[in-house]
Structures are given as C-alpha cells and as structure tokens.
Amino acid sequence: MSRVTLLSLQIAVAVIFVAAWYVFSTYPVFGHILLPPFFFSNPVDVVKQIIAWFVSGVIWKHLWVTLVESMLAFVIGSVGGVLVGFWFARQPRTAAVFDPYVKMANALPRVVLAPIFTLWLGLGIWSKVALGVTLVFFIVFFNVYQGVKEVSPTVLANARMLGMKERQLMRHVYWPSALSWMFSSLHTSVGFAVVGAVVGEYLGAAAGLGYLIQQAEGVFDVAGVFAGMFVLAAFVIVIDLIVTVVEKRLLVWRPTVGESRP
C-alpha cells in the first residue's frame, strides 16, 4: 500500500466515523434518534467547544499542567527504575529478598493509591506526579532488570577476554544493554506517565486535562467531556511522535523489525 493510499484510507475512517456520529445524533431513523445528544453530544458542538477553549486560551494552562506532571512522572520514574533495576540485577540476593514485595506492589491497581497521594501531597501537581511515578517506575524497572540479566553471554565473555574490568563491563556492556531495553519501552512508559497524570487530575485537582473532563462531566456537559477526550488524544499522539523521533536517534544501532541486511 502506498503512502498516499494509506493516508487517504486513514482519513476516510475518521470522516466516516464523524459523519455517522453527526447523522445519528441529529436526524431520526425510523422515528428515533439513535445517539441522543444528551448522552453523545454531536461533532459540531464538540468542535465548537474545542475552538472556544483554544480561542479563549484556557486550554493552554491545562495542557501545560498535564505536560509538566507527565514529564516529571516520566523522569523520576525512569531514574528510579534504572537505578533499582540495575541494583537488583547485579545483586541477586537483594532481588530475591525483595521479589515478593515488588510483585505485590506491581499487582496493586495504582488508582487506589491516588487518594493516599492526595492526602499526603495535596491537590497540587505532586500527587499526580507520584501516581505517574508508580506506573512508570515498574515498567522501566522490569525492563532494565531484564536488560542487565539478559546480556548475551558471548558478548560478556568477549568483553572479559578483551580485558574489561568490572567497572568497564558496567559502562560498555551492562549499561548500554539496560538502556536499550529501557528505550524500547519508552512508548509504554511515556504513555503511562500521561495516564497517571490524567487519572490523578480526574480524581481531584485544580487544573489539567483530567480536571477539565471531570468538571464538564460534573455539569452533564457531554460536549465538554468529548472535547477534553479529543484534546487528550491529540496530546498523546504528539508526545508519541516525539518519542518515536527520540527512539530512532537513540537506538540507531538496532535493526528495525523486518529490516534486512544490505
């Protein structure tokens, strides 16, 4: 499939979806409106709401807050995950001792922590950052742990035969291997950082996209809820594109799936 065909098909999906939404929420079919506007709003109102947000400029503040929370959650969670992952992978005994607790903490649905974080850290950004950190940390931690554990034994033996000492093995073998695993989970961890921020905002905040959606929902403003969702989706897509660019630069040494050797 050529790029042009693909793009036109992708656009077609959106056009058909929006058209169907508009038609079924505006015109009755056999005497019934299939998508009552009270529950489903309609595309025109949603677009109007989005435009109103951008024209008045209120949306920027909320986007900025969500962005800051997501980035802080990502950075703090990643640094923690890398350090602890590295530490556990190099100290099997420590890892064995903490293993059941790590599993327990990871199995816990993180949403239940949100009220506690709000209690501890207040309604500001830090309770949202904390929620995001608990999500990002485990993804990065497991990947780094795996990355250090699964260094190819041949590469390791080669490094030792080339004369590397423990510190050099860290720098030239374990570290790049761990980072490559971390970067390969970049999409997931960035995504979870955003999830943490938005869910935190939704459960209690004074600003952010989650707060915006929650406010609209509180007054049965369905157009506002949908508008918030679309802005959030666009926000996530932009972040994902940036991550893809970063990933391509960082993992230049890795073959992409399906790529064949020259």
Binding site: S152, T154, V155, A157, N158, A159, R160, M161, L162, G163, M164, K165, Q168, H172, V173, P176, S177, S180, V252, W253, R254, P255, R261, P262
Partner: protein, 277 residues
C-alpha cells in the same frame, strides 16, 4: 617472560600447555558429566594447531579452559610456563557466535580493546581504522554490526582481537556459520594476518579440510563423553599457502585420507551417541 617460568621442562617453551586436563560439569540432576578426559596438548609459540573432532566432543570446552573462562576439573594449564589461575590475559578469543557489541560501530568495536587499557581515544581510532583496512573493511567503520554481513562481522571480530596484539589466538569455529566461499576467503585472510607475526594459534573446527589447510598440526579428539585426544598429525605442507590451491595438492590428499580414516569412526560414534540420547 624470560626467567619467570616455574613450570616443568616439558612445558617451558609452550605458549599453551594443557597437562592431563579433565573437564567436568555438574548436571541439573546433580550427576557429574565428564566432558573431556586426560587431555595433554602443547602449542608452541608461533605454532598453528587445530583441534578437530565430532560434534559434542568438548573441543570448544578445551578452548575455554585455555582461555581461563572455565577452570579444569583436574590437571593444569600453563601459559608460557606460568600456571593459569584467572583469565588468560595473553590470549585473544574469537568466538563462534556473534560477540561484537551491537551498540558500537565497527570502528568502536575494534578500538574498544585499546580504549579500555587507556590508549588515548584519537590514537585508538587511528589504529582501529588501520586494522579495519587490514581486514578489508576500511569503508565500513561507521556501520553497526547488524548492518554487516556474517563474513564482515567476522572480519570486525578478527580486527577486534588482533588489535590488542595477543601472544595467543584462540578460535572457536570462527568461520562455522559462513558459507563455503566466504570461509575460504576468511581462511586466507587469517593466514595472511597470522604470517605477519606468527602467534600461537589454537583453532577449533569440525571441518578437517579447513584444519589441514590452515594448520601446522592437527589434533583429533574422540567422540564424547569423556573424549580424549586420539591423534596428533603434523602438516608438512609448504607455506605461504592458498587454501583453495593447497586443497588440490597431493600431500593434502594423502594427509586428509589418513586422518579421515581415524576421524570417520569417531564421527559415526558421535552421531550414534547423539541419536541415542
């Protein structure tokens, strides 16, 4: 090295001396598996020795013993007359599997051996470029390993090992995964590089033709388990050699016939054991 040797007279001169070496592994069920039994083998300085044996006879294991990656269960390993207790710092090891650092370019892969001993980066790069040229990859320095073919990766591996100028070269079926033509080209490249400053080479292969074409001596191992060294043949073919030409000579054929006569039985035994497992 002179004057520091403490070993017996028999191993004084040898670059690598395996003395009655046993190799054993503890299996998952607690039983001891004896891979190699009572192996005695000397490689003189500057000598090219190949170990040939059927699949699973423990020839790679023997190489790991000489590298110090694996301690022997019994017996001693002496390197230039000194008892080996840790990694063999005098040896370069070319592995069968891909052992290049995938996150480093070809040039960085070659330079790393110098980087870690504190050679200034600029000098390390210059010498690495020089070595990439020697293995015929001068224009490929900025490629990552996954962008290179199997043969090219082996060339980088060869340069990576040789740039450190080890006194001993250990090679574990290094050209095993390559196609026949590439193997021949790599064999000639190896001989060319080796003849420049004859290092002691211990070369493991299952390919008898390759072993004869490259080596001064061919050592035959019996089928495992508890495999032994059962034959030691001198290859008195003239050097410098070209692998494709030497395979046509009468001396080569004679030697090949004699050694194969012995090896054939072991290969059949080896297969029978593998099937019965």
């Amino acid at each position: 090295m002179a004057g520091t040797t403490t070993a017996t007279a028999a191993t004084d001169e040898a670059a690598v001396a395996l003395n009655a070496v046993d190799v054993a592994f503890r299996l998952a069920d607690g039983a001891i598996f004896r891979a190699v039994s009572n192996a005695t083998l000397n490689v003189a300085d500057g000598e090219f020795v190949s170990i040939v044996g059927p699949t699973g006879c423990g020839k790679s294991t023997l190489l790991n013993i000489a590298a110090g990656l694996l301690p022997p269960a019994a017996g001693a390993v002496n390197i230039f007359g000194k008892r080996l207790s840790d990694l063999n710092r005098q040896a370069g090891y070319l592995f069968q599997a891909d052992a290049l650092f995938p996150w480093k370019t070809a040039l960085e892969n070659v330079a790393i051996g110098l980087d870690i001993v504190g050679v200034p980066p600029a000098e390390a790069r210059t010498r690495a470029k020089d070595w990439l040229g020697k293995v015929g990859l001068g224009a490929f320095g900025d490629r990552y390993p996954h962008m290179l073919s199997g043969g090219q990766r082996k060339r980088v591996g060869l340069a990576q090992v040789l740039i450190r100028d080890p006194k001993i070269l250990l090679m574990d079926e290094p050209f095993g995964p390559l196609d026949a033509q590439t193997r021949q080209i790599m064999g000639n490249l190896l001989l060319e590089l080796w003849s420049a400053d004859r290092k002691a080479v211990l070369f493991v292969t299952h390919d008898l033709e390759e072993a004869i074409a490259l080596s001064d001596r061919v050592v035959i191992m019996s089928a495992g388990p508890a495999s032994r060294i059962i034959g030691d043949w001198h290859v008195n073919l003239p050097r410098p050699r070209d692998i494709s030409e030497i395979k046509l000579s009468a001396g080569f054929h004679e030697l090949h016939r004699d050694i194969w006569h012995m090896l054939k039985e072991e290969v059949i035994k080896g297969y029978a054991q593998a099937e019965g497992r």
